[in-house]
């Protein structure tokens, strides 16, 4: 076991790998007929590659990388809209650094900044709020993106802006939710998924019950997990145990951080500020019902879509993705990144075609970054 020394607790890791192997044998999982476990969260994908877990684990267990990287599922049209807003006179456009290099049809935000737009990388929407306070003559726009882990932060920031009556602050809301795309994947006849590893930090906010439908309606086990390697291995073992016992429930491996019912303050702020859009477009997955959030009318003054007339409602649909990219198939776990014809040829971290190659949580970036380590493990 090549990487054992890298684990903080190699003894525990080895014991878990052995227990997983026994369970996998018991349910008859083999290389030819593997049990497919989807890790939904890009942070988990990153962790799996960093530690080579997919190579260390029993050959009958196959990780399918899910769509849980908010940057990766961002359609190019959304990036184009960001650039359009950022290029308006007087605007300071603020964003998390993760989104800067994502390619649009025209420019990425990085390229728009180089071309003169006032685009600034911030750590928090609170930084954008502070910029608005300090620059009353400018319109400060924050690019709100991410799942339920970051959604409360923009909701609380809008509430604060409203309390202060700031007239020059708005959010370009592209927040999305985790449960709805899982439902879409479960409804996809091409997918064979036997169980799920759920994102821990999302459940820290929303709790574990939004996943009840996976167990109850689809009969699949899901275990909410931390992102340390032993957390992941333990969660795989919990999924396999459920399969072996013919059960399907939602279990919480990460109870030391994830409360069963989530964080009430965060959920109240989200409910106050956001409502669901009828549907929202995901790169690689298409339109998914009720999967995107919109700022409620009572906070319209802080909605960049409304202020600039740019955004989802106004967007032209069906803008084609770049030919030859397999981003959609990689995103849904149908193929591995190395099976994309562009991987390492037309698409590298320096010259990305897809966001999966840019974000640290993207599967293509993870394959690229850890390719050496993976070759050594094989």
């Amino acid at each position: 076991m090549k990487y054992a020394s890298e684990f903080r607790d190699p003894v525990a890791a080895r014991a878990l790998l052995t227990a997983i192997a026994i369970k996998a044998d018991r349910i008859g999982a083999t290389r030819a007929k593997p049990t497919h476990i989807m890790e939904i969260c890009g942070g988990h994908t990153h962790s799996i590659f960093r530690y080579g877990l997919d190579k260390l684990i029993h050959e009958g267990v196959e990780f399918i990388h899910g769509p849980g990287c908010p940057v990766c599922v961002l359609p190019m049209a959304r990036v184009d809209e960001c650039v359009e807003i950022a290029e308006q006179p007087g605007v300071i456009f603020t964003t998390f650094g993760d989104a800067m290099r994502v390619p649009g049809h025209g420019k990425s935000l990085m390229q728009a900044k180089a071309a003169g737009a006032d685009i600034r990388m911030v750590y928090s929407p609170l930084d954008a709020l502070e910029l608005a306070r300090r620059n009353p003559g400018r319109e400060v726009v924050f690019f709100g993106l991410g799942f339920e882990t970051t959604t409360p932060s923009t909701a609380l920031t809008i509430q604060q802006a409203a309390r202060e009556g700031l007239g020059n602050f708005s959010i370009f809301c592209n927040h999305i939710t985790v449960p709805e795309p899982i439902k879409a994947l479960l409804d996809d006849p091409d997918m064979t998924l036997d169980g799920f590893i759920g994102p821990g930090h999302v459940s820290m906010v929303i709790g574990i019950h939004p996943y009840d439908f996976i167990a109850q309606d689809y009969g699949k086990p899901i275990v909410v997990a931390g992102f340390e390697p032993t957390d992941l291995l333990q969660s795989v073992l919990m999924v396999l145990t459920q399969i072996a016992e013919g059960r399907a429930t939602v279990e919480n491996q990460y109870a030391r951080v994830v409360p069963e019912h989530g964080n009430p303050v965060s959920m109240a702020a989200m409910a106050d500020v956001y409502e669901r859009r009828p549907s929202f477009e995901w790169r690689g997955l298409g339109e998914i019902d009720a999967s995107g959030l919109k700022i409620r009318a009572k906070y319209r003054a802080f909605d960049a879509e409304d202020k600039f007339g740019i955004g989802y409602a106004a967007a032209s649909r069906n803008v084609p993705e770049i030919p030859g990219c397999a981003c959609g198939a990689v995103m849904t776990g149908k193929i591995k990144p190395t099976a994309c014809p562009q991987f390492g040829r037309g698409c590298t971290p320096d010259m990305p075609l897809g966001a999966l190659m840019v974000s640290s949580e993207g599967a293509c970036a993870a394959y690229w970054k850890y390719a050496g380590a993976r070759a050594a493990a094989e």
């Binding site: 890298e6 903080r8 969260c41 890009g42 942070g43 990153h46 962790s47 960093r50 849980g68 990287c69 908010p70 940057v71 603020t94 998390f96 650094g97 993760d98 600034r120 990388m121 911030v122 750590y123 928090s124 929407p125 609170l126 930084d127 502070e130 910029l131 300090r134 991410g146 799942f147 882990t149 970051t150 409360p152 932060s153 609380l156 604060q160 994102p199 930090h201 820290m204 906010v205 992102f227 340390e228 390697p229 030391r256 951080v257 964080n263 303050v265 965060s266 702020a269 640290s360 949580e361």
Partner: protein, 93 residues
């Protein structure tokens, strides 16, 4: 952006806005504590929290903070978060 980073609350800075000073690996950064505040703001001082994009989202114990920090370092995410905090200071100018 999706993984939280552990920090210790060292002072309450703006009680009205539920803001506190947190320290992560020697870097100080003001964070919002609305999600973990409860009734007694002052009792937060000295506690460990998981911070997501400037918001404390969960109280954790010291051992969990240390383990999480180590995992984030392994993944390169700790440095990324700290770099983003520093970059944000430049963005304010």
């Amino acid at each position: 952006m999706c993984l939280g980073i552990p920090a210790r609350i060292i002072a309450i800075t703006h009680p009205d806005r539920l803001m506190a000073m947190a320290e992560v690996s020697g870097v100080r950064r003001e964070v919002n504590v609305a999600c973990v505040a409860g009734n007694d703001l002052d009792s937060l001082v000295g506690q460990w929290v998981l911070i997501h994009v400037g918001f404390a989202m969960s109280l954790i114990d010291e051992d969990e903070a240390a383990a999480t920090m180590e995992a984030l370092r392994d993944l390169g995410e700790a440095q990324e978060a700290l770099d983003q905090m520093r970059a944000a200071e430049e963005a304010m100018l």
